[in-house]
Assembly symmetry: C2
Homo-oligomer: 456 residues x 2
Amino acid sequence: MSEQQLNYLKENRSKNLAALYDFLKIPSVSTDSTFKKDVRNAGQFVYDYLNEIGFSNLEMIETDGHPIIYGEYMGAGKDAPTVLLYGHYDVQPADPYEEWISEPFLPEERNGRIYARGASDDKGQVFMHLAVFEAFMKTEGKLPLNVKVCIEGEEEIGSENLHNYLNAYPEKFAADFTVISDSGMIAENQPTILYGLKGFTGIEIEVTGPSYDLHSGIYGGAVKNPAMALAQLLATMKNKDEQITVSGFYDGVEDLTKEERELIKNVQGENYLETTGAIQTISEKGYSAKEHTMARPTFEINGIYGGYQGEGTKTIIPTSATAKITCRIVPNQDPERIQDLLETHIEKYKPAGVKVKVKKEKLSAKAYKVEPTDPLIVKAAESYERAFKKEAVFVRMGGSIPVVEWLDNLYEHPVVLLGFGTPDDRLHSPNESFPLNSFDLGMETIVYYWNTFKKE
Amino acid sequence: MSEQQLNYLKENRSKNLAALYDFLKIPSVSTDSTFKKDVRNAGQFVYDYLNEIGFSNLEMIETDGHPIIYGEYMGAGKDAPTVLLYGHYDVQPADPYEEWISEPFLPEERNGRIYARGASDDKGQVFMHLAVFEAFMKTEGKLPLNVKVCIEGEEEIGSENLHNYLNAYPEKFAADFTVISDSGMIAENQPTILYGLKGFTGIEIEVTGPSYDLHSGIYGGAVKNPAMALAQLLATMKNKDEQITVSGFYDGVEDLTKEERELIKNVQGENYLETTGAIQTISEKGYSAKEHTMARPTFEINGIYGGYQGEGTKTIIPTSATAKITCRIVPNQDPERIQDLLETHIEKYKPAGVKVKVKKEKLSAKAYKVEPTDPLIVKAAESYERAFKKEAVFVRMGGSIPVVEWLDNLYEHPVVLLGFGTPDDRLHSPNESFPLNSFDLGMETIVYYWNTFKKE
């Protein structure tokens, strides 16, 4: 019974790709205020699309930052379930620009992939849903279930304004379940049900010493070097076994069960060395790289800086040095508590002679887990398998989607992660891309999935 | 017998200051190729000045980098001594520009100081010598001794080309002694004889992990974080007692004698907390801050960088992280050996899972010491005292002037460091300045000094 929609998508493939490219061309980098207007324009794209295909009660919800796009379709009637579709139209910064083979905001097709910032995360996947809605409206004039659409513009910067709005107006987005396509499959063409996601929290450590950059000859030996102080402090936070040595960090973290280890082992994961170019995998003692990335908490320095970075030499003692850190956390770890533990550790271990300021990342999220046997999850797996002609695997993953945890907490309803990215997509990196194969079979999966809600 | 010159300088003070300002206005940043032409223009300024006051055999010596300005005055005759005057017309980068109160290359007088990049290091002090030469030529038509002038444009980037030229044409600059004004006094108005300088060497450590920035959720736990690897590595190089923990680093370093400790103690040094804004002085265990800066070797991180530095958060594992390091060394430490020791240490302690590349700073220098009782030094002290009306102090200092060591090795003649900077000059930092008082009394000192070579 999905023939009509699939035919419509086939016939309109060129038109759809052209529209997606228009969407990708908008540099909607939410973290950089230079792109404020572009971010809004990307939101407007979603708004206009929903409007054109007949969604109602459209709103561009203004926030203190970038707007949230809302729209709904209630034509399936009171007895039909209502799904909340969440996604985001903002993207990560594209720098370093010089490492892109083609322009980040000028989509290009190469090797069966669409290359552009946001192709996979998350504009490409948001667009697939829009196109599938259109296919239903243009063929049957209706959808098999009621839909509330919430596409935000601040996912890459922590979704703070959506978080506030959700808490202020919970009724607005109330639904029976949520669907999100903002994740990936463990391999190209391998249907993947994500039944667990890590949570997320972060801090910034700023070490300040002298009030200006000092001449290292005149003052070397009189004051503490802030870059060295930072290095010494960071080195107290993780040991050689890649264990996080912050007191209390692992409190409540449950060890992997034999069954989970078996499940992870059987997942045909990616070849980390090949994908990343690292010379060796490095993971927590007692856990494989796959186990650590999928199910154990992490502590990563995302950026470090201080002093002279230019050409040649500048013989100074820098006035300050900074490290940006994020942790991915697992069930039973509370993000605010983790921030407190980090702060306590830093206070205890900070070297003498410098000031250390800890800035806590405002937005964070607990980890998320859903029952793999939930009928909504089972239906999703079946739809996947029908489109990709391959059995779905069930995995936990290291990524975090804070909104998943919020919706889970707020509505206590299942969140279905219907992701179509692949390990080679280079999310957040230069040369992000998305396979055309995922584009086509992903839409097919979504068509099948919505049709499972059709009343016969 | 110096009256004539001092009167001339007094009468021409405004003209001299205006000319100095013209010199300071040229952004001769040698490390940044953007300023290549400006660097040359600053050299041309020196050339033109020497030409105008009657120096001969002028040359703008071309090198692989910036030119060396040469000129001589041989009018004092064969029996008179010949001095080599060394200085540099290049300056440190001015960044961060936004921290300057007035423009770095638009000199401004405030609080009795000239504010501009290079005001103290070294254009201001080079100019004083030019003005004094002029004063002699315009009043007596001659100088009391023969002079060879060597003003280079690459001091701030290691003087590599001067080094090569010196070794290729040692005769060119041969003289009975050298005078350099590129250093400071321990306090404003405190005549200071520097009888020892530290040497200098450096390395850059680049830690590389994945071949591109990775998503920290997907890959955190599978590969080593290069920024953490760098922090862990740096932390093995210095301990909590500020001792450098690189095997062999202190080999041959002589401990301070009781007399030297006494001498350093009696030097009325600067108030480090006041000058630097640090909350506490930190120095090697067993040595005061003054002792460490003046006479003990140092290891400083001049800059550290890797990963995301922008606004907000970017959840990546950076592809690489880099630290720029320089060491100031003391007598009996060989710079190349120190580089080798650092490299050996890094090879031994580098964390698993990353590649580490050590780039050795090409140019370096041994430490320098001169006998405080040498007649040329005694004369300098007397001239200082006469101008500043205060007894001179004798100190060793933490700065390095590689060319001092080269000239010392090459010519085996005394190098007299006649510096007029002060601790508040903020060399290499935003808001560099030079006291007008040093400008006036410094020129007076130089006049007295040259006149000690006058045959009565």
